[in-house]
C-alpha cells in the first residue's frame, strides 16, 4: 500500500504543481512569460516581468501525515482504527491531485448511501434523497496514446547558446480518468427502474470507467528568439520546441459493469468486463510478469508566438502540432474474472492532435498602485478552459483574484508580500469536488528569495 501511495503521489505531483501560487491567486490564469513555455515555446525568450513566481511549496503533502487520517492512507499502519473510521478515499484522491494546496475541506464521501432495491429497479441516493450518479472525469481520456505528455518533474535545463536550450527530466501522470454511467444506465437510475436495462443480453446499461497512466524520460530541445520590432505593435518572439520521450511505462484500462437479470427479470448480479493495455521496459518483466514488455517512445513538435507591447503582452502557442507516439505491449481482456484474450499489441497515437493556448495580460497604472489584468484559454485536443485574473499592486503588497472554468467553476484569491530578503505568495484556491460536487477550498504558498 505504501508503494501504491508513493506511486500515486509521484504521478500527480507534476500535474498539481503546474500552476504557480501567483497564478492560483488569480484564478489559475497563465501569465505571459518563461513560466508558460510549456504551453508556448516562444515564452522561453520572453522577458520575465509579467510572470514572476516563487517556488511553490507542496504543502498538500502535510495531509499525507497520519495526523490527518481522512486523507492519509499511512494512518492504516499507525492507527488502523482511525483509518477504518475516518479514512476517505475520495478525500485522499482530492488532496493527492492538489498537492500544491493544503485542502481545508477536501471532497468528502457521503455519510450514508442508500440502495433502494425493488422488483422494478435500484435507486442510489445519499441518504438525503439526492440521487447519486457515479460520474467523474479528469483530463481527456484519449482512445489512443498521445505525444502530449505530462510536464517533466524537476527537469534539468541546459543553455546551448542564444535562444537554444535542452531540458531533460522524468515525467509521470495520468492522461485522463473517467467514471460514468452510460446513457442507458443514467436514464435507468434517473427513472428508478432497471426496466430498460433488460432490453437485451448483455444489458445495454453499464457503468464505465477509463483511465491511463504514463511515465518516462523527456528530452526537449527548444529555440526561441526575439524578432525585429514591429512598429506600433511591439517586440515579437517566436519559438519552436521538439520534445521526445522514452517510455518507462504506459497503462490504459477500461472497464464496464453491467447488471444481470434472472428469468423473472430480477437483478441477479453484476457482470464485469475489463480491458487493459500494459507496456513497460523488458527489464521490468521479471518483477511484473505481465507479458507487457515492449518499447514506448514519442516525439512532438510545438510552436508559438508572443508579443510584448510594453504595458500589454499576449501569446499563442500550439502544442503537439505534429506528433508521433508508439507503445508496444500486451492487451488483455477479462470477463467476469476470466481472462478471455491476451494479445501482443502495438498502439500508435494520432499524427496531429494540437492543443492551442492563447493568453494575454494588460498592465494599467493607477494614481495609487498598479492593476494587472490577465486572461487565458486552452482548446483543441484537451478540455477547454478559460481563466480571468487581476492583481492590484501597491508597494510591497499585492492582492489578487480571478475566476476560471476548468470543467467546473473555480475562483482564486491571493496576496503577495515583498519582505526584501524574500517574497511570500499566498493563495486561497478553490476547485469543484470530484463526484460529490461542491467547492473545495485550499491554501497554497510559495517563496522567492
Amino acid at each position: 500500500m505504501k508503494r501504491t501511495a508513493a506511486f500515486l503521489i509521484a504521478s500527480l505531483l507534476g500535474l498539481s504543481l503546474a500552476q504557480g501560487v501567483r497564478s492560483l491567486g488569480m484564478g489559475g490564469v497563465l501569465l505571459p512569460g518563461p513560466s508558460g513555455q510549456g504551453a508556448n515555446p516562444a515564452y522561453a525568450a520572453f522577458p520575465g516581468k509579467w510572470d514572476q513566481e516563487g517556488f511553490q511549496l507542496p504543502i498538500g503533502l502535510l495531509r499525507l501525515l497520519p495526523l490527518f487520517p481522512d486523507t492519509s492512507p499511512f494512518s492504516y499502519f499507525t492507527d488502523p482504527n482511525a483509518f477504518r473510521n475516518q479514512f476517505d478515499l475520495l478525500s485522499a484522491y482530492d488532496q493527492a491531485s492538489h498537492l500544491g494546496s493544503f485542502l481545508i475541506n477536501p471532497a468528502r464521501s457521503p455519510d450514508e448511501v442508500v440502495f433502494r432495491v425493488s422488483a422494478s429497479g435500484v435507486s442510489i441516493t445519499d441518504g438525503q434523497g439526492r440521487s447519486l450518479m457515479p460520474s467523474f472525469q479528469a483530463g481527456v481520456v484519449a482512445e489512443r496514446p498521445t505525444a502530449s505528455i505530462p510536464q517533466p518533474f524537476l527537469p534539468l535545463s541546459f543553455d546551448l547558446g542564444p535562444g537554444t536550450y535542452l531540458s531533460v527530466g522524468p515525467f509521470a501522470g495520468t492522461q485522463g480518468v473517467r467514471v460514468a454511467p452510460n446513457q442507458d444506465l443514467a436514464m435507468a437510475l434517473k427513472e428508478g427502474s432497471l426496466h430498460r436495462c433488460q432490453a437485451s443480453t448483455p444489458s445495454p446499461c453499464a457503468l464505465e470507467a477509463q483511465g491511463s497512466f504514463i511515465s518516462g524520460i523527456s528530452l526537449a530541445l527548444g529555440f526561441s528568439t526575439p524578432l525585429p520590432d514591429i512598429p506600433g505593435l511591439g517586440r515579437v518572439y517566436a519559438g519552436v520546441r521538439g520534445e521526445g520521450f522514452y517510455g518507462l511505462g504506459y497503462a490504459e484500462a477500461s472497464a464496464k459493469a453491467r447488471p444481470t437479470f434472472d428469468q423473472d427479470g430480477n437483478v441477479s448480479g453484476v457482470s464485469y468486463e475489463s480491458r487493459y493495455f500494459l507496456s513497460y521496459p523488458s527489464f521490468l518483466e521479471a518483477s511484473l510478469g505481465q507479458g507487457g514488455s515492449g518499447v514506448g517512445y514519442g516525439l512532438r513538435g510545438d510552436v508559438g508566438v508572443a508579443v510584448d507591447g510594453g504595458n500589454w503582452a499576449f501569446g499563442l502557442g500550439v502544442q503537439n502540432l505534429l506528433g508521433f507516439t508508439q507503445w508496444s505491449g500486451v492487451e488483455v481482456t477479462v470477463v467476469d474474472g476470466t481472462e478471455t484474450s491476451r494479445t501482443a499489441t502495438t498502439k500508435r497515437g494520432d499524427f496531429s492532435a494540437p492543443i492551442f493556448t492563447l493568453n494575454g495580460a494588460y498592465r494599467l497604472p493607477l494614481e495609487v498602485g498598479e492593476l494587472l489584468l490577465a486572461a487565458d484559454t486552452r482548446f483543441g485536443a484537451t478540455t477547454p478552459t478559460l481563466h480571468l485574473g487581476a492583481e492590484y499592486n501597491l508597494g510591497g503588497v499585492a492582492i489578487r483574484t480571478g475566476v476560471g472554468l476548468e470543467g467546473g467553476l473555480r475562483f482564486g484569491l491571493g496576496a503577495g508580500f515583498n519582505l526584501e530578503a524574500l517574497s511570500l505568495d499566498l493563495a486561497l484556491t478553490t476547485h469543484e469536488a470530484p463526484l460529490v460536487g461542491g467547492t473545495v477550498y485550499g491554501i497554497a504558498m510559495a517563496v522567492r528569495f
Binding site: 477504518r84 433502494r116 425493488s118 430480477n266
Partner: protein, 183 residues
C-alpha cells in the same frame, strides 16, 4: 425462485470511506405478485405464505461481514368477515440460503418474528411486526453469512378473514471499511 442480489455495491464509488454507511433497503413487497398480496383465509384455506413458495425469497448480501445492524418489518391489514371470533398467527421466518422450506423447522430455518391477533366478527386491524437486527442475534448471524431466505406465514383459526399485505421490507446497514483487516 426469485432472488434479490445486492451486488450493485460496485456503484458506490463515491462512498469508499470509513465514515460511510451503506444502507440497503429491500422492498420485498414488490417481489410478491399483486394477486398474492391479498386474499381470504377460511375453513378451506387456513394459511397463506408470502411469497407463495415455501422456500421464501432469497437475498444475497455481498460484503455482509460488514453488517452493522438492520431492521425487518411487515405489515398486514386484517378484517374478520366471518360470524365467529378468530385467531390469526403471523410469523416471519428466516433460513439459510440453501433451505428449501422455511416452515418445516429443518435446514436451519427459524421464526424471527411472531404475533397472534384475535379479531371479533367485523373487526379490522392493521398488524405491524418489526424486528431490530442487532449483533449477537440469530437473525444478525444468519444475514452476516451472506445468503439467506425470508418468508412470512399467516395462519387462521376461525371462520373467515380478509388479508392485505401492505409492507414487507428489510433494511440492512453495512460499513464496508470493517472488512479491512489489520496490517
Amino acid at each position: 425462485m426469485k432472488r434479490v442480489s445486492l451486488l450493485l455495491v460496485s456503484l458506490a464509488l463515491a462512498a469508499c470511506s470509513g465514515h460511510t454507511i451503506h444502507r440497503f433497503e429491500v422492498d420485498l413487497l414488490s417481489f410478491i405478485p399483486q394477486n398474492q398480496r391479498q386474499g381470504e383465509l377460511n375453513l378451506i384455506t387456513t394459511e397463506v405464505f408470502f411469497p407463495s413458495d415455501p422456500a421464501g425469497q432469497g437475498v444475497e448480501v455481498p460484503g455482509s461481514e460488514a453488517l452493522v445492524d438492520g431492521k425487518l418489518s411487515l405489515q398486514v391489514d386484517l378484517k374478520n368477515t366471518g360470524n365467529l371470533p378468530c385467531n390469526l398467527n403471523l410469523e416471519v421466518r428466516l433460513g439459510p440460503g440453501n433451505d428449501t422450506n422455511l416452515y418445516d423447522g429443518q435446514g436451519g430455518d427459524f421464526a424471527a418474528l411472531r404475533q397472534t391477533v384475535t379479531l371479533n366478527p367485523g373487526e379490522e386491524q392493521t398488524v405491524t411486526l418489526q424486528l431490530d437486527i442487532q449483533p449477537g442475534t440469530p437473525t444478525h448471524d444468519l444475514i452476516q453469512s451472506g445468503r439467506f431466505r425470508i418468508g412470512a406465514r399467516l395462519g387462521l383459526t376461525g371462520d373467515k378473514v380478509q388479508y392485505t399485505l401492505t409492507q414487507a421490507e428489510v433494511v440492512l446497514r453495512l460499513k464496508l471499511f470493517n472488512l479491512i483487516p489489520n496490517p
